[in-house]
């Protein structure tokens, strides 16, 4: 299949998946974050009995409802794509994906359909306490629902807790808790949910500032800004802390992705951190000289890269070329060696399959034992995915895209901390209505928080290319061998449908914002 594969099928399938995932991610973070802010506002209403807090809760709930309703089920399209465009992958991951997605489906359906309904329709129909519980459970349920898909994604970045079965060609879960509680999963969950909390806070901050700019609903806007700035400041600091943890996870399990994030081509002890840099396109494409400096311009923080990767200023951080060429004295195999070992694993699987089909029972048993032996698993199957590559350079991701996305994400994350700090300071000083420039800054932050979130996913997903499952399955082996024109058609169809839906959502949202909170 691999030799006859039309590579444009891989590219179009990837582009379609990226389009769908990025579109899906326009809705998810707001759902994750704003629900907690709703719950906090309603808790204040419950405690104080002040109707103004109820009014604020109902208004933000309405916007959450529009976002939730239009965004609901967009993730299911990704599952359609698994079955059609990525059939090898969807079979290969087996029950590793099945279990988390089944839990997610049940949780999402039961929690969301029940508690969201009470939250929206239950005002004055159920007791205040019951309604508040429903709002909190909606927030918890939405985030719990996201948890499972993030666990599945983390497994793709760092596959653990499974055993590949050569008879079924599927990865079978050996230890559910190894999958669910892997450090990579824990970090991905808290960092991603953290980004949702920041998105929810900026959404409320930005729209409240719009009301202040229009000199409307001043009291409501000030109250909303106070809650959003406290919650946002805590969330953005939490996001920075979990981002630091994510950096360490990536450095440990996906060194190539880390090297791409930092534009690091030659590793060193006490590696610098690029605070600001512009990569030279020509140098990035040229691997013939193994020239380590690919920058047209850069500002470095000495030893920052080592600190980010290992919390040790003198730690060794490998660069792109160290990963390709190997560093024997540090026990790092060259990519050429990994390719050889990967091919050995693929060939053994092929021979086993052949022996089984030819009913050569004894030969098949010997080959199966060889394949399943601990040493073969650790020394050969571990590099299974490398066997699909011809050149070591094939495993380099799109460095400029990953580098710039990472730096945009970090810069915006830092900016949000300052923004929330300013909002809180001005709120507490009672000066929030005296600084028009701050309204514009908050409004500008609305699109920027989405840019930051999408950039984060670009780092996570483009940074691990060419892998679908780190070291085990590259995109070229994961894709279904179908005609690329079929994928082009659905890609264009999606682009049109998604654009229409997004415009519809924004229009409905804007209309409701203009109406404002009900008296």
């Amino acid at each position: 299949m691999i030799e006859t594969l039309d590579l444009s099928t891989v590219d179009w399938s990837r582009a379609q998946f990226a389009l769908t995932a990025m579109y899906h991610w326009l809705f998810v973070p707001l759902t994750l974050g704003i629900t907690f802010l709703l719950a906090i506002m309603e808790t204040i209403y419950y405690k104080t009995g002040n109707e103004k807090w109820k009014k604020a809760t109902i208004f933000w709930m309405k916007l959450f409802g529009i976002n939730f309703a239009i965004g609901v089920s967009t993730g299911i399209i990704l599952e359609f794509e698994f079955g059609t465009n990525w059939s090898n992958y969807s079979w290969f991951v087996g029950d590793i994906f099945g279990a988390p997605l089944a839990i997610e489906g049940m949780l999402a359906f039961f929690m969301e359909s029940t508690f969201i309904a009470v939250m929206f329709f239950g005002w004055n129909k159920v007791s205040k306490g019951y309604h508040l519980a429903a709002t909190w459970l909606t927030a918890i349920g939405a985030n719990l629902s996201a948890l499972w898909i993030l666990i599945a994604n983390a497994w793709m970045q760092n596959p653990v807790g499974m055993q590949f079965n050569p008879d079924t060609a599927r990865n079978e879960m050996v230890n559910f808790w190894d999958v669910a509680l892997s450090p990579m999963a824990a970090n991905k969950v808290v960092h991603t949910i953290g980004s949702g909390l920041v998105t929810g806070s900026i959404f409320i901050l930005g729209i409240s500032c719009w009301f202040l700019l229009r000199k409307r609903e001043i009291g409501f806007a000030k109250r909303s800004i106070l809650v959003a700035s406290i919650f946002g400041l805590i969330s953005s600091l939490f996001l920075a802390a979990t981002g630091d943890g994510s950096g360490q996870m990536v450095a440990k399990h996906q060194p190539m992705k880390f090297a791409a994030m930092e534009g690091l081509y030659r590793g060193q002890e006490g590696a610098p951190l690029i605070a600001l840099g512009v990569l030279s396109n020509d140098k990035v494409k040229d691997h013939s000289t193994r020239d380590a400096d690919k920058f047209a311009f850069k500002l470095e923080i000495p030893k920052g890269g080592s600190m980010l990767a290992f919390h040790d200023a003198n730690a060794y951080v490998p660069g792109v070329y160290d990963i390709l060429d190997g560093v024997p004295e540090r026990g790092m195999l060259s990519t050429t060696e990994k390719i050889e070992r990967g091919r050995e694993a693929i060939l053994t699987l092929k021979e086993y399959k052949k022996a089984k089909r030819s009913k050569k029972t004894e030969e098949a048993a010997v080959l199966r034992d060889k394949f399943m032996s601990k040493s073969f698993q650790e020394n050969y199957f571990k590099y299974f995915g490398y066997g699909y590559f011809k050149n070591p350079e094939d495993i380099i991701p799109n460095v400029p895209l990953v580098f710039y996305s990472f730096h945009i994400m970090v810069a915006l994350g830092s900016f949000f901390i300052v923004l929330f700090g300013l909002a809180l300071f001005l709120s507490l000083k009672g000066q929030i209505t005296k600084h028009k420039w701050f309204y514009y800054l908050s409004l500008l932050s609305l699109p920027l928080v989405y840019v930051a979130g999408e950039a984060g996913w670009v780092v996570a997903e483009v940074g691990r290319q060419p892998w679908v499952i780190q070291d085990l399955m590259p995109t070229i082996a994961a894709v279904t061998n179908i005609d690329s024109s079929a994928v082009v058609v659905t890609f264009c169809l999606f682009a049109i449908v998604f654009t229409f839906l997004l415009i519809a959502e924004i229009m409905i949202m804007v209309k409701q914002i203009k109406i404002g909170p009900k008296q």
Partner: protein, 74 residues
């Protein structure tokens, strides 16, 4: 009123009294229709489920795909 009737009434009255949701519901229903009755049916068949009937056939097909590579390094 029994529990099922009360639950039904709760949802029915809730949707009925939504003042802001008419357009949103129209968008949602169109979206779900397009997703499940157009995309899923005509554009996104599950390749392995439609082309093979047993898990053995599916795994055999995937192993063929995964192992069918050029093994020379030229």
């Amino acid at each position: 009123m029994n529990i099922f009737k009360r639950v039904f009434q709760f949802y029915y009255q809730g949707f009925k009294s939504m003042t802001w949701g008419k357009q949103a519901w129209a968008v949602i229903l169109v979206k779900l229709f397009v997703m499940f009755f157009v995309l899923k049916l005509f554009f996104f068949p599950n390749k392995l489920n439609t082309e093979f009937t047993t898990d053995q056939e599916r795994s055999s097909h995937v192993i063929d795909n995964l192992t069918n590579i050029q093994t020379d390094n030229k």
